[in-house]
């Protein structure tokens, strides 16, 4: 028995050298947030706008509609219910993505877009599709298809805060996904055809905007959120990286009213970081 007691004491003395400390949990999710949270793809350091066009369009939409929310950065697309950022965590505990965010805003803010007549609503819906297809293709072509642009511009965005070797692998996977999406929608990737489509889309937007403050009058709509997102990404992304060149950006610069429009919205709505 004495030996047993001595052995026990020795064991206790040994384990006392490695005390078990219980730390507080790193992050405990809230059951229901007090304010809706919009999770967007990474914003630039101290920047207010996301580096991805879908996330920026959602940011613009919520700001234009006056929907109460805060914005948080996220770099995992799989967190979203649709597999693509952004997604909105509402005060009712729902996670919404894609058109569900638009439906939520229209339900909660009925006055948003109410100044439009039925034909103008139809025109607004139609003109949004120009950006979502033709400008989107032009953006993907400039950002991902060109090897130089993808290395200098796109890869740093997607390797941000990632350890090696993920920072080498993940951007390349993303590039393959974007190219695959392009080939699923077009049998061949023809540069002239893509740029012609971009020209048609931007000409239509320039004519619709003319000298107005927004596309359909003095108040912004969903179409403005979509257009601003594409204009801002194309104008700002290729402005900083040396050695990169965007054909779509060159076409935008030919339409002075669109450039001033993007600057105006940026200055009016995105000067403060919302967190």
């Amino acid at each position: 028995m004495e030996y047993l007691t001595a052995a026990q004491q020795q064991w206790t003395a040994f384990t006392a050298r490695f005390p078990l400390e219980t730390k507080e949990p790193v992050w405990t999710p809230e059951n229901v947030p007090a304010v809706s949270v919009l999770f967007v793809f990474n914003r630039a350091a101290n920047g207010t706008t996301s580096m991805e066009v879908d996330s920026l369009a959602a940011q613009a939409l919520l700001l234009f509609a006056g929907y109460p929310h805060i914005v948080k950065d996220c770099h995992e697309h799989d967190q979203s219910p649709s597999g693509q950022l952004p997604y909105l965590l509402t005060t009712k505990g729902k996670a919404l993505a894609g058109r569900e965010i638009i439906d939520e805003v229209m339900d909660q803010i009925p006055g948003f877009g109410s100044h439009l007549k039925s034909t103008e609503k139809a025109d607004s819906f139609a003109i949004s599709s120009l950006a979502e297809s033709k400008l989107h293709f032009g953006l993907l072509y400039d950002l991902w298809y060109s090897p130089q642009n993808s290395l200098k511009v796109a890869f740093p965005q997607y390797s941000h805060d990632r350890p090696w070797p993920l920072k080498e692998v993940l951007p390349r996977i993303r590039r393959w996904e974007q190219m695959d999406w392009m080939l699923k929608h077009h049998v061949t990737i023809d540069k002239e055809e893509i740029l012609d489509d971009v020209k048609v889309a931007l000409s239509a937007y320039a004519v619709q905007l003319d000298q107005k403050q927004y596309l359909f009058g003095s108040k912004p709509t969903l179409a403005d959120a979509t257009l601003f997102a594409y204009l801002h990404i194309l104008l700002s992304t290729f402005n900083t990286a040396a050695g990169s060149h965007s054909h779509a950006r060159d076409i935008i610069m030919r339409h002075d009213n669109l450039v001033q429009y993007a600057r105006r919205i940026w200055g009016s709505w995105f000067t403060e970081r919302i967190e």
Partner: protein, 388 residues
């Protein structure tokens, strides 16, 4: 509009479900050509590879090929067939927006209905492609297209609609597009007044496919009929309007076979060869294809000449067949071998043995040289006997 323009030739997918073409992009161009009163012929095609872009429709203006709906309409406008000549710049911008909306979101819902809906795919889509494609391609082309469509529509999810029912997002988008078209059309005859424009040609072509009641699961037809009767009335109105325009000219005889087409599309080429041979044979032998000169003696002489030609044809075919069989038999069994000139040189060396030179430069025979035995039983090689 140019009146002395030779006819445009449009290569498009064939008709189905009572429509001029089962592809809405081909049908859009067909409608545009009809509405613009252009002189054109329609050639049914089931091979998109003839197009530089890899997709139909393809318009041939003389020797100039123009591929893609947008490029074709742009080309026709430059030639003077412009349906949008009276539109303002703002209306042109709106027209481009709505056409894009139809060709993206609305087209996605049509693809879902035809390819992703299992009943429609197995009972309707496959049947249409089987009739259009040749024997070999009908077994794999629909699956290739289906795979591409599934990848294209991968981003759509199941969602709750306003009635809290679970539906595919693609149908919610289709309803939104129908609503936008309905609002834009309103009480007008056409989208921009009393005259049809490019938007009308495209909208009619696509909406006709959506309003198909003949599908096994006509979901889009149900949405249109119950929620958007104005668009159904518009389709009927456009159908009636198109009957007032001149129809396309009869399609020309198909071009002769070319080696390029055989190499690029062997199965299609063999089908064309078989069809061509069958046509020539029936022209040669059938009584209905025979020309009558009105003179019985002349007709009888022509008939004897024709029969002699047929007999000579079969005689030469049998001779060629026999020669071909003989040549194939002797080559396959190695009775006759065909060798190149290098092989002959090697044969000479083998006959004389492998030659090498010693330090003095004299030829030394080794390897496969001739060996013989003389009367005394001595064994010699050819080289040794020569040296001696």
């Amino acid at each position: 509009m140019a009146s002395t323009q030779p006819p445009f030739e449009l290569f498009a997918w064939g008709p189905a479900w009572g429509l001029d073409s089962f592809d809405p992009f081909c049908m859009s161009v067909q409608c545009y050509l009809s509405l613009s009163c252009a002189s054109w012929v329609c050639t049914k095609s089931s091979n998109p590879k003839i197009s530089p872009s890899g997709e139909l429709p393809l318009l041939r203006d003389g020797t100039i090929p123009v591929a893609g709906r947008a490029n074709i309409i742009r080309h026709l406008k430059r030639k003077g067939f412009d349906l949008d000549a009276n539109l303002t710049p703002l209306q042109l911008a709106q027209s481009a927006s709505f056409i894009n909306l139809i060709e993206t979101k609305l087209y996605d819902s049509l693809l879902h209905t035809l390819f992703v809906d299992a009943k429609n795919y197995s009972e309707d889509t496959l049947r249409v492609y089987s009739k259009q494609l040749d024997f070999v391609r009908r077994f794999y082309v629909p699956e290739v297209l289906k795979k591409r469509v599934v990848g294209r529509l991968a981003g759509y999810r199941m969602m709750l609609d306003h009635n809290q029912e679970l539906v595919n997002e693609v149908y919610l988008n289709a309803k939104d597009v129908f609503q936008a078209l309905d609002d834009k059309l309103g009480d007008q005859l056409f989208f921009f007044g009393d005259k049809p424009t490019t938007l009308d040609a495209v909208a009619y072509a696509h909406l006709s496919h959506h309003a198909l009641p003949l599908l096994t699961n006509p979901k889009l037809h149900a949405i249109l009929t119950f929620s958007f009767p104005n668009l159904i009335a518009y389709i009927t109105r456009m159908q009636a309007a198109l009957t007032l325009y001149p129809p396309p000219s009869p399609s020309p005889t198909p071009p002769s076979l070319h080696i390029v087409s055989i190499l690029s599309n062997p199965s299609g080429a063999w089908s064309a060869i078989a069809a061509d041979v069958s046509r020539r044979w029936s022209a040669l032998t059938s009584e209905s294809a025979q020309v009558s000169y009105g003179d019985p003696e002349l007709d009888a002489r022509e008939k004897r000449k024709r029969e002699a030609r047929v007999e000579a044809f079969w005689k030469w075919m049998s001779v060629l067949g026999a020669v071909g069989f003989f040549v194939g038999y002797v080559v396959a069994n190695g009775i006759v071998e065909f060798r190149s000139g290098d092989d002959d040189e090697h044969d000479d060396e083998d006959y004389h043995g492998h030659h090498s030179e010693d330090l003095n430069g004299d030829a030394v025979v080794d390897g496969d040289s001739f060996v013989y035995v003389d009367e005394d039983g001595n064994v010699f090689t050819e080289g040794e006997s020569e040296e001696e």
